[in-house]
């Protein structure tokens, strides 16, 4: 008879769930970590890690069968032979797109921490204050100073490489040494700095890749293979498997249960607390219940809210946390896939060695430091410079030996960037249960009704024009600004749907990520976000999770939970 009583249950084993499991077990709680998908063991199960391109049956191209089974994932890079099996099968896990929404999901131990982009930036002071100042959505119940020590803490453990720049828009952190810009990026950086008098900067990006080993965690430094998204045996990028899971396991307090789809939280209306969870075993279709004092919901933004929507429906027909009328609302993503690129002349005698796992970053410069645009918020630019390879077009060489020899050598230096823009929280952008449609396990699916609006569309013009202007001012030739096409969800930064706030009438969670209507339920993944900033969000989920876990354990110890 398996144990059904734990101090804490953590739902989901991705970036934030891994952190919840680590923090809670290290503080002495007995934790059950539930994961809806299969197990993936560090090193052993990284099946594609060491494959060379010729060893993939289709050289990393997509087969018809892959495309047929992935009507959503085929829309962008997630569908590939090298990451095959790490993103879900869309046929097994459908959802309803009221408007096009690309939902790229990873249902396995580690979740999307295995394939994430690893860009790791702190929100700045303004990010926590802008909603209140501008009358958008609701105010965050916390400020930068509340999160600052937790950023510091998670950066140290996760291993974030970066340079200290002393910029208000992009606060410095507890960094490992930065990766290097290549010589073209350095030159362009200095031209930009000069042209914009330091008001725009090109810096090495901040990434959860180890520029130096972390021997305490058994993690080696980056080997510059740039195969991160297949899993890394060196543990050289942050993932649940490389970092938080081994720490949690080492305490002896963790039980990991893969193949466990949480169908609802069990809610006790007398105590106004969750008493545990109900799960469906994804392999056997058997139902089980587990009990705990506290529950951490880290099932990924939309799925955490799906679980809340299916819980305590005898009391609130729209689910636990719906009393505010905001559960499922205020969906955000980062809108991107527009920017510019061009040729850089004069570095024909320069090349690079090694495949750096990250690029450069141009921090936000719009609507800050006295700049004022006809839209709110701003964007950052992410990109890199490199020499073109054999996939380049050489118009004057049609076929034959000259073409072959030319393509065997590196081509022109190019530089490019895509902007990542902040998306405002709109009440109308929402998810809800579509009970007409069922997934492979007979569970009702989500409907997603999200679009970008005027503020984002205005911002996109700047995102393209500014990228082009920056490059031109830095002497880049043949600059082309483009919109490569964005649909909500493509950023894979789903946020909102159970936002934090100061008032139970307008928010789902309080300042400690507790559900107002069930204070022993903590939601610390992207669902909790009150606004989006323009920086990549995962580091903020880590910090919020560590902070909430610390609070939760103190409350348990005091007998309050």
């Amino acid at each position: 008879m398996p144990n059904i009583e734990y101090d804490a249950i953590v739902i989901g084993s991705g970036i934030s769930g891994g952190w919840a499991a680590k923090e809670l077990t290290e503080k002495g709680l007995k934790v059950l970590l539930l994961e809806r998908g299969r197990n993936i063991e560090h090193i052993k199960d990284y099946e594609h890690e060491h494959k060379e391109i010729w060893q993939f049956p289709n050289r990393n191209q997509r087969t018809r069968e892959m495309i047929d089974d992935h009507p959503v994932h085929k829309r962008d890079y997630p569908l590939s032979e090298e990451t095959f099996g790490l993103y879900v099968n869309d046929r097994e896990s459908p959802y309803t797109e009221v408007k096009r929404f690309d939902w790229y999901r990873g249902y396995q131990v580690g979740g999307r921490s295995l394939m994430w982009g690893r860009q790791s930036y702190r929100f700045n002071r303004m990010d926590f204050e802008a909603n209140a100042r501008e009358g958008i959505g609701i105010d965050w119940p916390i400020r930068y100073d509340d999160l600052d020590p937790w950023y510091h803490y998670v950066e140290g453990f996760a291993g974030i490489s970066g340079s200290k720049e002393n910029l208000e828009v992009l606060p410095d952190g507890n960094f490992l040494p930065p990766f290097d810009l290549n010589c073209v990026e350095k030159e362009i950086a200095s031209r930009i700095e000069k042209h914009y008098d330091g008001k725009r900067r090109l810096i090495i990006s901040r990434a959860a890749n180890l520029s130096r080993a972390l021997p305490d965690q058994n993690r080696g430094k980056c080997m510059y293979r740039a195969r991160c998204n297949r899993g890394c045996s060196y543990g050289a990028y942050f993932s649940t498997q490389s970092s938080t899971l081994p720490a949690a396991m080492a305490t002896g307090n963790l039980t990991l249960r893969p193949w466990s789809i949480v169908t609802r939280l069990l809610y006790d209306k007398d105590s106004k607390r969750a008493s545990g969870v109900e799960i469906l075993d994804a392999e056997t279709n058997q139902t089980y219940e587990y009990r705990s004092k506290i529950v951490f919901l880290n099932a990924s933004t939309f799925n955490s809210t799906w679980i809340l929507m299916n819980s305590a429906t005898d009391i609130w027909s729209d689910g636990l946390g719906s009393s505010s009328g905001e559960l499922g609302h205020n969906v955000m993503d980062h809108h991107f896939r527009c920017g510019a690129n061009g040729d850089v002349e004069g570095f024909d005698d320069k090349y690079y060695f090694g495949r750096r796992p990250t690029g450069y970053y141009i921090p936000r410069f719009r609507n800050v430091n006295g700049d004022k645009r006809d839209y709110l918020r701003g964007f950052g630019l992410q990109g890199s410079a490199s020499r073109t390879g054999w996939n380049r077009d050489i118009a004057e060489l049609a076929v034959g030996a000259d073409l072959k020899h030319a393509l065997s050598k590196p081509g022109q230096w190019r530089i490019g960037a895509t902007a990542f823009g902040e998306m405002l929280p709109y009440h109308e952008n929402r998810i809800y249960i579509d009970s007409e449609k069922k997934d492979k396990w007979g569970l009702p699916v989500l409907a997603v009704d999200v679009e970008i609006r005027e503020n984002e569309l205005k911002m996109r013009k700047d995102m393209i024009n500014d990228a082009a202007e920056i490059f031109e001012s830095a002497g880049v030739k043949n600059v082309v600004g483009s919109d490569w096409g964005y649909a909500p969800g493509m950023g894979i930064h789903e946020m909102g749907t159970a936002r934090m706030g100061r008032d139970p009438k307008t928010s789902v969670l309080n300042a400690w990520n507790q559900v107002w209507d069930a204070p022993n339920v903590f939601v610390t993944d992207g669902a909790c976000m009150t606004s989006a900033s323009c920086v990549n969000p995962s580091l903020t989920y880590m910090a919020l999770t560590a902070r909430a876990a610390d609070y939760a354990v103190k409350e348990v110890r005091k007998g309050n939970l």
Binding site: H50, E52, I53, W54, P57, N58, R59, Q61, R62, T63, R64, E65, M66, I67, D68, K74, R75, D76, Y77, G117, Q119, F179, D180, L181, N182, C183, K186, S205, M223, Y224, N229, D348, D349, K350, Y351, Y352, F353, G354, R355, R356, G359, Q382, G383, S384, R387, G389, W390, N391, D393, A395, A398, V399, G400, K404, S408, K409, P410, G416, T418, G485
Partner: protein, 187 residues
């Protein structure tokens, strides 16, 4: 940034978006799958081999035949292409054979190296000038050239002997000297 560099592979060596299984920007919908055996018999494989070798010929470095490019192309068309692209591709092979016979009175495989090159140069010009209407497949020669180049440069022999293949660099130098003629990195 690697996961954001999706844009970098959308054109390949012909100035056109990559054709076939990567055809993600056109919203093309799956058609009925051909079942069973390969579309390519030994005759088609031989012709494909000659076309690929003309695009990427053996010189002091290996050519398309050394790199098994014809088999790669056949596998891609069989497994990755949807039916409309398959039809265009296969019809293109027939057209090449017919053109060769009407122009030189011989099958493509029997032409001299110069004649083969001349024919494919003309086809390259034709393919580049081709303006593809919405919902219509790319020019068959665009497909052939892209697959020949992709298959050539992703083969083991070319990655290791023509390009410089370093699976585990172990370090990074962002300002390494480059001497004219040095091969590109394989990855």
């Amino acid at each position: 940034m690697d996961r954001r560099e999706v844009i970098k592979l959308i054109t390949i060596a012909t100035g056109a978006a990559l054709v076939g299984g990567e055809l993600i920007f056109t919203g093309c919908t799956p058609e009925k799958k051909p079942t069973g055996d390969s579309l390519f018999g030994s005759k088609e494989l031989d012709l494909l081999g000659d076309i690929a070798e003309t695009i990427m010929p053996r010189t002091e470095t290996p050519g398309a035949k050394d790199a098994g490019v014809a088999e790669f192309i056949a596998g891609t068309v069989d497994r990755c292409y949807f039916e409309p692209d398959q039809q265009t591709f296969m019809a293109g092979l027939v057209t090449i054979e017919e053109t060769s016979r009407s122009r030189y009175g011989k099958q493509f495989g029997r032409l001299t190296g110069e004649q083969k090159t001349e024919m494919l140069q003309d086809l390259d010009r034709e393919a580049r000038a081709y303006r593809r209407p919405d919902g219509v497949t790319a020019h068959y020669f665009t497909m052939m050239k892209q697959l020949a180049i992709y298959g050539y440069f992703t083969s083991e022999i070319v990655q290791k002997q023509v390009l410089r293949h370093v699976p585990i660099p172990g370090s990074y130098d962002g300002c390494m000297p480059y001497n004219e003629g040095d091969p590109a990195w394989a990855i």
